[in-house]
Point group: C2
Chain length 255, copies 2
């Protein structure tokens, strides 16, 4: 019998029904599961056949597992004979998911792998907030960057100040004020519509929308915490926020 590859599976932005059908099926067959703590428990619960489940990543009171330890655990599970081994990551494994690093470690160890893509919050969070990242005559493209550079340093957005595209920033909420400052210093008009979106595919979804320069104060007043998705561009104010979004603070709301 041919052995299955290690599956790098995207869990999507939260809600279990925003998983792909393929991801749900792979999870149902998982013999060993290595998953991020940020993944929705109902998604993790889909791995009903898994003989071992290992949680990694940030949790209150526990330090974040080193990437090397995660790669080593994946290899150890494979070498122990679990089949298939499934690595479940929030969003998409290949969009700021460090899935490439895990794939490289598996390749180096001679272990086959496959990717099951998932909805990245970079595109799904705006959609769920009724923000089209591209729109004819408004934005002909989208730039997706991390707010945190390698080593945890601030990723300056000054270079994106002139972009004609919608800007989506992941992992930027902890340094929102500095990020916005760098973006405005780079040329982005301070009154550009901007939105900060958190847990959009969870019941506790929250959204703060304001002109760019006012967004950090509005987000602070609303008590927004990481992880959240920042969207900057005129598309952010094209439509009203969804009416069933209870945790909304909206400077662009009519009336």
């Amino acid at each position: 019998m041919t052995r299955e590859p290690v599956y790098l599976v995207g869990a999507g932005p939260g809600a279990p029904d925003l998983l792909t059908v393929r991801a749900a099926r792979v999870l149902a067959r998982a013999d060993a599961l290595l998953y991020d703590r940020l993944v929705h428990p109902d998604v993790v619960a889909l791995a009903t056949q898994a003989r071992v489940k290992v949680a990694v990543g940030k949790s209150p009171g526990a330090p974040k597992a080193a990437q090397e330890a995660i790669c080593a655990t994946l290899q150890a599970l494979w070498q122990a004979g679990y089949d298939p081994v499934v690595r479940l990551k929030g969003g998409d494994p290949f969009v700021f998911g460090r899935g490439g690093e895990e794939a490289a470690a598996l390749s180096a160890a001679g272990i086959p792998w496959e990717v099951v893509p998932g909805l990245s919050a970079a595109l799904a969070a705006p959609a769920l907030a009724h923000i089209p990242v591209t729109h004819r005559g408004v934005s002909p493209g989208v730039v997706i960057v991390s707010g945190t550079a390698a080593g945890g340093r601030l990723h300056s957005l000054a270079g994106e100040g002139q972009t004609p595209y919608t800007l989506v920033v992941l992992m930027g909420v902890a340094r929102l004020e500095a990020l916005v400052r760098s973006l405005i210093a780079g040329g982005k008009p301070p009154d550009t519509p901007a939105a900060l979106l958190a847990a959009m595919a969870w019941p506790e979804a929250r959204a703060v929308r304001a002109p760019l320069a006012e967004l950090p104060a509005a987000a602070r007043a609303a008590g927004m915490t990481a992880p959240a998705t920042l969207v900057v561009g005129p598309v952010a104010a094209l439509f009203p926020l969804p009416s069933d979004l209870r945790g909304a603070v909206d400077a662009f709301a009519p009336g």
Copy 2:
């Protein structure tokens, strides 16, 4: 009984199992379905309850339906009382899907709508080709643009020649040579790894990979046709193409 909104549903990149669970469930409940001809027939077939199914978009021998006609049809289906009306689009409705225009038309007519996000080929096609669009130390972000500007004109990529991010271009294959020329003129090194990916989530998947300057000739020789996804950046050559990808032409293949 409250009436359902019009659902703008993303069909993802092709394969029916790359649909989200939510999208599959909405399709199964559709009373009227308006879908793009490019969507996989097995996805369209999930709308088993639909009393009416209308196909729009490009087809051999038929002109593309005007966007205005699509919006008018959506409104007509709603006004005729179908509940729910489902608009099924390839990829994600809000990533070059013109879903924003359809949403705006619905809003203008006082018709409620909701988005069910889907996997955009912009991110899913690279993942299925084992290309992580972001990778630590290689690419700290991704830019997604259309190769065709409003009105069908060529969208120059000269402005992206200096981007430190992975560049993904949708709808560019018909003008690949001019796009690549503009990108190199803008400063992108001619030997930057690049890949052209077609139908990655279909059995007839094809991929051509070459240094940027050589990609148009390689794609022409391979007979690549639209729609296809162009990926430009060092990430395009991080990993071998999937071994089960039969339609692969790869200048970076080992040996």
